[in-house]
């Protein structure tokens, strides 16, 4: 008699896997990477490579020697963390700091909680937050795009090669020095590696939505909230505030909305939970930008809302079947 496998249904399995999801995100980040190389040259390649390799290697070492569990460092999730961390750094950042930030992102931000799926905060932003506190000067020195692209040793020519970011200029109140919206859209402005080009990020975001890796809700609601709130402020007083299009195209909100808020691990499970998450982060981001000490509030808005996710998941439940009364 032949021996058959007996298991519970379903016997059919969809083709989606963790690798499918994670490498899909990596593919979606390629347009932003191309934009960063055009703007910031080989330092963009170097920073991204160092962050990516450090993250994957760090996860591998922790799984092999500390957790002594199955090695899943190459499933693409550590690679995503590495790339996203790099995309949130200025191109002039010393590479040893990138290594430190990557180790913090993976070891503290992710593996300390038990690895993939267990971390409450976005690991890339944990790494960036750590670096912003530890290396405040290097983390807020912004090379001028294109001009600095093929210059390796930016540190020695800081004055000639760096400038403030558009949001930095805004915080100073020098409205006349702000870049054109078109420059913000294609990314030829100062800022972190992968955040400057709204166009490249939107292309990647559409790819993610098309592949059904993310849904449109979080990015659209996050950016929409920022647009509406800054729009209201602009309508109230258009000399003290800049128009809302500037706000959604500048800084990290595009990259954050499409790639970091949508991080599955650290976003709510139900649709309405995701709505609260996205709108809440939008409110916090605008509050920091307009009233806070920092010019940019994207990172803090995401990290703060990450902390609310367990609470949101506890109280906001998906709509159950059979609750719609439509008979009798």
């Amino acid at each position: 008699m032949s021996k058959f496998i007996v298991s519970l249904s379903p016997h059919e399995k969809g083709k989606y896997t963790v690798e499918h999801v994670m490498w899909g995100v990596v593919i979606a980040l390629i347009p932003a990477f191309i934009s960063s190389v055009v703007n910031f040259g080989y330092r963009a390649v170097a920073v991204t490579a160092v962050a990516l390799i450090t993250c994957v290697f760090c996860e591998y070492l922790i799984q092999k020697f500390l957790m002594k569990c199955e090695i899943t460092a190459f499933d693409g999730s550590a690679a995503v963390t590495g790339i996203l961390l790099a995309f949130n750094l200025p191109s002039s950042i010393p590479l040893w700091q990138v290594v430190v930030g990557s180790i913090v992102a993976i070891a503290v931000g992710k593996m300390a909680f038990g690895g993939l799926g267990k971390n409450p905060f976005n690991p890339a932003l944990v790494g960036r937050g750590f670096m912003l506190m530890s290396f405040p000067v290097d983390m807020t020195t912004w090379p001028i795009p294109l001009k600095s692209a093929w210059e390796w040793d930016i540190a020695s020519k800081l004055d000639a090669m760096t400038s403030a970011t558009p949001l930095g200029v805004l915080k100073e109140g020098n409205f006349s020095e702000l870049p054109e919206l078109w420059d913000l859209f294609i990314g030829t402005v100062g800022g972190s590696l992968g955040e400057t080009s709204a166009l490249a990020i939107i292309i990647g975001g559409i790819y993610l939505i098309h592949r059904k890796i993310i849904t449109w809700h979080i990015p659209v609601l996050y950016l929409g909230t920022i647009f509406v709130l800054t729009g209201i402020m602009w309508l109230i007083n258009d000399t003290a505030n800049i128009n809302p299009v500037f706000h959604i195209l500048s800084g990290g909100v595009m990259l954050g909305g499409f790639f970091m808020m949508t991080d599955m691990v650290t976003s709510p499970m139900s649709l309405w939970g995701q709505v609260i998450f996205a709108v809440g982060a939008g409110v916090i981001c605008v509050a920091i930008r307009l009233f806070g000490a920092y010019p940019e509030g994207c990172m803090f808005s995401i990290l703060i809302m990450n902390a609310f996710v367990p609470l949101i998941d506890k109280y906001i439940k998906p709509k159950k079947f059979g609750t719609e009364v439509n008979y009798g």
């Binding site: 058959f4 249904s9 059979g322 008979y327």
Partner: protein, 452 residues
């Protein structure tokens, strides 16, 4: 009628759902007879409810259609001999799930039918029986739901006082991949099904019947629409292909946009739901006096050279069907009784066909084995695809920790076990396995509570 390439806005349910590869390879194969086996094993619990009590003993001679098991409880069904011959024994025999159940084993001799059964192929259109007589006949003939759950059909038509039914919903969705049995009977037995639906309408005392068919069966839809044109009140409703549309609650939502509340029955929203195969069995029972002794079984698999839809007598060992398609394909590791989403994997092909066997599927190594389980990445796909609006990721977690009170609060008992969550999980987590465990424990706790 749907033509190729035509864009039609098709109805479907709103919440959740997946679309697994359809793999309906056997769709083009007409229903064929299969040779009678030498011996049949007829289980006496082929339906939901109490098993039938045997009314024959070793050595008795039976004909095709002779009553061999009597369903005496309120929810139970009669069992008839599917063959003629001599009763070899009445003993417990292992069924598809490995449990031993009381069964009548009959050695086949010839093929002699009870005289009361009308075997002529003539269509009998006129319905002479009164509603209560129809229900009695359905009960006598041992008709059960042929969609897979095998709920005794007569119970559905004993409508309690105070409940009002306005629609008979015919489930011709066949949303399970691979299976094509319902598709074939709709193409080949269209008229009989239409009369069956008329009988059901009469029994339920309603004017309206809606037949839900998924759009991947264009030939069946065309034939049914043509036949339905002479029956006022019978509507053929093509549906968008979406699993698990064949689940009762989802089908009612699709065709009538009514939601059956948690813990309630279709009766509570004015519906009686029956499978299209049941409509055919009702026609044969009421008009031809033929008990439920045979059914169409799809035999299929990716590695099979010949796929088929066989008309099979109940009790026939599955091995007879395996031989009929030219033997088991090389490297078969899993055999499924039913569809791939909700069917049961069976330990051997020696078990017999029952009233609920809709198909047999052979799977090779690549399909049969589960993938390695990974950490939940909280992608929320299980929440998005759950047709009941549950949280499979959370139910899995707390069922694993045996926190049954929380499992109950999260409405695990609403789960229809469609498997969409496990199907879609990128981490291959055993979501439905744990939810089943949770459901079983919640039901046990509720039972213990009710005894206090």
């Amino acid at each position: 009628m749907i033509k190729k390439g035509e864009v039609v806005k098709l109805k479907t349910f709103k919440l959740g759902g997946v679309h697994p590869p359809e793999n309906k390879m056997a769709a083009g194969n007409p229903i064929e007879p299969v040779t009678l086996p030498k011996r049949v094993t007829v289980h006496l619990n082929q339906h939901i409810g109490a098993p039938a009590n045997p009314v024959v003993k070793k050595g008795d001679t039976v004909k095709v259609g002779t009553l061999i098991g009597k369903g005496e409880a309120f929810i139970s069904a009669n069992i008839h001999s599917p063959v003629s011959g001599k009763v070899f024994s009445v003993d417990p025999v292992a069924d598809g799930s490995g449990y031993k159940v009381k069964s009548v084993i009959i050695d086949v001799e010839g093929d002699e039918w009870e005289e009361s059964i009308d075997r002529s192929p003539d269509l009998k259109k006129e319905i002479t029986l009164e509603p209560s007589q129809i229900v009695d006949r359905i009960k006598e003939c041992g008709i059960v739901g042929l969609g897979g759950a095998c709920f005794p059909s007569h119970v559905k038509y004993m409508i309690p006082e105070g409940k009002k039914v306005d629609t008979v919903v015919i489930n011709a969705v066949e949303c399970e991949p691979y299976l094509t049995a319902d598709d074939r009977i709709m193409i080949e037995k269209t008229e009989e099904i239409m009369i069956g639906i008329e009988i059901m309408k009469k029994a339920a005392g309603v004017e309206k019947a809606i037949v839900g068919i998924e759009a991947n069966k264009p030939e069946a839809i065309a034939k049914m629409e043509k036949a339905a044109s002479v029956y006022p009140g019978t509507i053929i409703q093509p549906l968008k292909v979406m699993y698990p549309q064949g689940a009762e609650k989802q089908l009612i939502k699709s065709v009538l946009n009514r939601e059956v509340p948690s813990g309630k029955l279709p009766l509570d929203v004015g519906c009686v739901v029956n499978n299209v195969g049941t409509a055919l069995a009702v026609y044969e029972a009421v008009q031809k006096n033929k008990p439920l002794i045979e059914r169409v079984v799809t035999v299929t698999g990716k590695k099979l050279t010949k796929t088929a839809n066989y008309m099979v007598r109940v009790g026939t060992p599955l091995s007879v069907l395996v031989e009929a398609v030219g033997g088991m394909p090389e490297g078969t590791e899993k055999v499924i009784n039913g569809g791939p989403m909700m069917g049961k994997a069976i330990p051997s092909v020696d078990i017999p066909v029952t009233k609920g066997t809709s198909g047999i599927i052979f799977m090779d190594k690549a399909e049969a084995r589960r993938k390695l389980t990974r950490n939940c990445i909280r992608c929320a796909k299980c929440v998005m695809v759950c047709p009941m609006g549950l949280e499979p990721y959370l139910l899995e977690k707390i069922a694993d920790k045996e926190r049954w009170d929380e499992v109950e609060k999260l409405a695990a008992t609403d789960c229809i076990e469609c498997g969409s969550c496990s199907y879609t999980c990128p981490s291959s987590r055993p979501l439905l396995d744990l939810i089943r465990l949770g459901k079983a424990n919640v039901n046990r706790i509720r039972w213990e509570r009710s005894k206090k």
